[in-house]
Symmetry: C2
Subunit: 193 residues, 2 copies
């Protein structure tokens, strides 16, 4: 039985979404193709009909998450411009910390990407560049270009590390976890004011 | 055949070192007890004679790495005080980025710890607190305590995120990877000057 083109597209998207959720929740190495197929309500065979490997699916899932995050980030406006502060508040919120499955894939997978292949590195890079450019445009309104670029890169690093560290200490010391998020937010505000 | 107490201690340390190296290189979920035993030159059974589980060994390995890193950080002195700048230079160096197996476990495992149990979270927390206190003492020499604390936490976040992100983009864009390290270093220098 052949499936329609629409149904094939729907299955492909279901696989990408399931993979994105499970990878962020449990890590790229922590999830197998069998679990991803099951989460998407499809068979193992259906997965391989769309993606040659788990890595290919991981790269696609990463790109999908990044595109959605980028669109969301750039759509919240204030005074006719994307809202820099609202995005930082969201990124360093306890809500984003506590929901890795629906959060930024760059933070959820931070330390794992270096071990993956170049196709996944390329998707991470695209996502990182887009977030950094968002900060850079905002900062460059009031500071020289080189300074804006350096600050934007350091802010991206601090966000990814802040969320990762806040998650890492959360089970052992919830108050410290909150303090990491709050302090990172506060220092970025000082830096960019 | 019973082994001596000294030999047992030696085996235990070999397991802790092997685990620390492999976890940083390949992730906690990416390495099994069989590989760790082999790397340590011991049997599977010898590992379980020392550690009830892979998690227990991971917690011990994390603590061991953190203790060594802390001692190293606090021993390099300048003007009779620990050298804040030398440590930042080292942490954000291309050398540390390119050698995860011998680098800071907090950066090498950043996004994985949140998925592990509370014993591993507690070791991460101890390591994070120690590094942050190191920054805090330095900054508090010239700034109010609350500000020093917030900046120290944000710096810890930026270091962990900076190294993770630099590793994540390294295969796809080595120049961007270097720029992340350099910019993070530069912005921390501005912030704490």
């Amino acid at each position: 039985m052949r499936i329609t083109k629409e149904k094939a597209e729907e299955n492909r998207l279901a696989l990408v979404k399931a993979a994105g959720k499970l990878f962020r929740e449990r890590g790229i190495d922590g999830v197998g193709v069998a679990e991803i197929s099951k989460e998407a309500g499809l068979t193992h065979g259906a997965l391989y009909a769309h993606f040659p490997s788990k890595e290919a699916l991981a790269a696609e899932a990463f790109g999908h998450n990044a595109d959605r995050a980028g669109v969301h980030r750039e759509k919240v406006m204030v005074d006719g411009k994307p809202d820099f502060n609202a995005f930082l508040d969201f990124y360093l919120s306890t809500e984003q910390r506590d929901n890795p499955a629906h959060s930024c894939a760059m933070a959820a997978s931070a330390s794992e990407i270096g071990r993956q292949d170049v196709s996944i590195s390329a998707r991470y890079e695209a996502s990182f560049q887009r977030m950094t450019a968002f900060f850079e445009r905002h900062i460059a309104e009031t500071k020289p270009a080189a300074e804006a670029r350096a600050e934007a890169l350091a802010i991206s690093a601090a966000l990814i590390g802040g969320v990762s560290a806040a998650r890492a200490v959360a089970k052992s010391n919830p108050a410290l976890s909150d303090e990491i998020l709050r302090s990172t937010r506060q220092v970025i505000a000082q830096l960019t004011k």
